[in-house]
């Protein structure tokens, strides 16, 4: 017997001639839960994936003026109430298995949007040590590991204390919490759960590019 991973109702999966090709679309959620996830469709900002009718949204125009350092972020879902609750139960409550909700969409999107670039390295956003002790896992790594591509954990994250102690020169670099543990000379795809302001992705990109990375892309579940 199978149950919806999120709401626990029993799944009824009767195969018929009309659905046998598509039935595997989301094989962990019931149709009622699956229907509540909304994919971003139609026109979007070509850099950050926000639903937007011209090429660049206002935020991204601003980033460009400040010196843009990511090539593109691609988000799959609108950040609606349902995905917000799912992500929160997954990440904050620590319900690790809920990443399965996103496996197929993440893989498909990776194939469709990024697989042309086979020399790309998958890089997760690191978690601070105290967060790791609370949750026991890094949600960004949990997503990255679902893709059929080598994952390289080349970013480190300063703890808050270390950040307070650091010198002025470092502080000038916009309080960037990330550092590089191993320079990468290849293009990078950053994986994360939510793209909100885009600051996190760009801070990571800044460090990567300072150390010789030629191009940084991002793939995120939801665009808030």
């Amino acid at each position: 017997m199978n149950f919806c991973l999120y709401c626990h109702v029993q799944l009824e999966r009767s195969l018929t001639w009309t659905n046998w090709l598509t039935v595997e679309d989301n094989d962990v959620l019931c149709s009622s839960c699956a229907d509540k996830l909304e994919r971003i469709s139609g026109e979007r900002c070509e850099v950050c994936s926000r639903a937007w009718s011209s090429a660049l949204c206002l935020d991204c125009q601003q980033w460009r003026q400040l010196g843009e350092n990511i090539e593109r972020n691609y988000s799959i879902f609108y950040y609606n109430d349902t995905i917000r609750e799912m992500i929160s139960q997954w990440k904050f409550r620590g319900d690790y298995v809920l990443r399965e909700i996103f496996r197929n969409d993440l893989k498909d999107t990776f194939e469709k949007e990024f697989a042309g670039n086979s020399s790309m390295a998958i890089v997760p956003i690191p978690l601070s040590e105290s967060r790791m002790h609370e949750r026991g896992f890094n949600q960004s790594l949990a997503l990255a590991e679902m893709l059929d591509a080598p994952v390289k954990q080349v970013l480190g994250r300063k703890s808050d204390e270390k950040q307070a102690k650091k010198n002025r020169e470092a502080r000038l670099r916009r309080n960037n919490p990330f550092f590089i543990t191993e320079p990468l000379k290849q293009a990078v795809l950053i994986i994360d759960d939510i793209y909100t302001t885009g600051t996190t992705v760009r801070q990571a990109a800044q460090q990567l590019k300072l150390h010789g990375c030629p191009a940084v892309y991002a793939l995120t579940l939801a665009r808030s």
């Binding site: 149950f3 409550r93 319900d95 690790y96 298995v97 790791m132 896992f137």
Partner: protein
């Protein structure tokens, strides 16, 4: 700040806050250093949270053994996979990685109150009889006792004598209810009735509370944080849970009480297993067959409406319903209308409004509203109905329990539907005739084929009334 810390670290505080608990480290409400000291001095004792033996897994906090509710995560701290429980994850994740802590320090002596009861009202004869039984159950430490009281019997007052008795003996007590509204409503009433007793209300979102009072009012989930804590545990509406939650509730209740203790179950509609145990003489119990105002329960009338299911699906209302609306005994009474499904509410609201207008049951469409579980304005609408700003309220089974309105007629459209089980129908019928000023009220089940549940519900009400007449 300083005073706070001193209180936090005092042995009396620690014992009171931690005895009878079973908590994850992050739930222990003390500073890290203090926690470390207590652990190294074995005043906090770690126990594995997940029992994993020979292929069978059990969550020690909620009792879950269903594999469907377990999963694993690769722990970034220990670099190995840990099982975790998904059944109780809303209360913080229980996993193989982190133990649960129980108190191993000094025992707490809860105060023995010589005159705890500050309530001065009077119990009715029926209430007094039952209260005496409950009191005896507490005094004799009878492990399980059931109080079968009709909707509107006034059960809170009946609890005062057994609670008084328990408080005089220096017992620790918990009252658990599935519904948070009940807990919120009970807190001021209990505070009034037992003014010198420490009382705390715990529910989802009240995690900042330490739960260290002598009398704990809690939603049933909160019991999972207690271990051998209570001398008396009162479980309200024990039948109100969906079956799958029932098991973990029973587990939590068992874990939360001391080895020598009394659990009192309160219900208006006991489940089969309880009724069987009563019949077999294995569960001592008492009936409260009369409402506090002394009047009998309204007995539901069945009205057959041919092809009702079909008609409703086509957004038509049966003639039987129209006829009843026209000939209601007291058209001034508000009307509570139950339908089986949310979808039906949306479909039928229009036709019901026009019918009610046509038969002069309402004079304007805005005298009618509809509520359902996920309705954001649920509280507002219920309040409007209570204030008589609304004359008619259409609802799903969410209003079957707890919510009381003084003077209503109750109609169920398609009472034969699966969602209306025996207990639900008894509870629904119990919404009518609640006030002493208008102790009757019509209850009508419209159906196109009587179900077992309908028959049994009516039978249960008739039997209770027969008992009530004898008092």
């Amino acid at each position: 700040m300083n005073i706070d810390k001193r209180i936090l670290m005092s042995p009396a505080f620690l014992a009171q806050a931690l005895s009878g608990k079973r908590l994850l480290e992050e739930e222990v409400p003390i500073p890290q250093k203090c926690f470390d000291v207590l652990r190294s001095t074995k005043q906090l004792i770690p126990t594995p949270a997940i029992e994993n033996q020979k292929g069978s897994v059990k969550c020690i906090r909620c009792g879950n053994v269903a594999l469907q509710y377990f999963s694993e995560y690769p722990c970034g701290v220990c670099q190995q996979n840990h099982k975790y429980c998904r059944n109780c994850i809303q209360m913080g994740r229980v996993s193989e990685c982190k133990p649960l802590y129980t108190w191993g320090g000094a025992a707490v002596n809860w105060p023995r109150h010589s005159q705890p009861l500050t309530w001065t009202g009077n119990l009715t004869t029926a209430q007094r009889k039952a209260a005496a039984q409950l009191q005896e159950a507490v005094e004799e430490k009878i492990p399980a006792y059931l109080c079968w009281a009709v909707c509107g019997a006034g059960k809170t007052e009946m609890l005062f004598p057994p609670l008084t008795s328990a408080l005089k003996r220096g017992y620790r007590i918990a009252l658990a209810s599935p519904r948070v509204d009940v807990i919120r409503e009970l807190l001021p009433r209990m505070g009034q009735a037992f003014q010198g007793v420490s009382i705390e209300a715990l529910y989802g979102g009240s995690e900042h509370r330490t739960g260290m009072a002598q009398l704990i009012l809690a939603t049933t989930h909160q019991l999972m944080r207690y271990h051998q804590a209570f001398d008396v545990l009162i479980i309200d509406e024990v039948d109100a849970f969906p079956y799958y939650l029932d098991k973990s509730l029973m587990y939590a209740a068992k874990q939360a009480v001391k080895k020598q203790s009394t659990t009192l179950y309160l219900t208006a509609t006991p489940r089969k297993n309880f009724r069987l145990q009563m019949k077999l003489g294995k569960l001592p119990h008492v009936f409260v067959p009369l409402r506090y105002h002394g009047h009998l329960l309204p007995v539901p009338k069945f009205k057959l409406a041919f092809r009702l299911t079909n008609q409703l699906a086509n957004q038509k209302l049966p003639n039987a319903f129209r006829q009843w609306l026209i000939h209601r005994q007291n058209p001034k009474r508000q009307l509570l209308l139950f339908v089986p499904k949310i979808a039906m509410i949306k479909e039928l609201k229009g036709v019901i409004t026009s019918l009610l207008m046509e038969v002069d049951a309402i004079s304007a469409p805005d005298q009618l509203e509809a509520v359902y579980a996920a309705d954001e304005e649920r509280e507002v609408k219920i309040n409007q109905f209570r204030q008589k700003e609304l004359h008619v309220l259409i609802t799903t089974t969410i209003l079957e329990r707890g919510v009381t309105f003084p003077s209503v007629d109750v109609a169920v459209l398609n009472a034969g539907h699966d969602v209306f089980n025996e207990a639900a129908l008894v509870q629904i019928a119990g919404r009518a005739g609640r006030s002493a000023d208008d102790p009757t009220g019509e209850v009508v089940f419209f159906h196109d084929g009587k179900t077992d549940a309908m028959e049994k519900a009516r039978q249960m009400i008739v039997e209770m009334n027969a008992r009530g007449r004898k008092i």
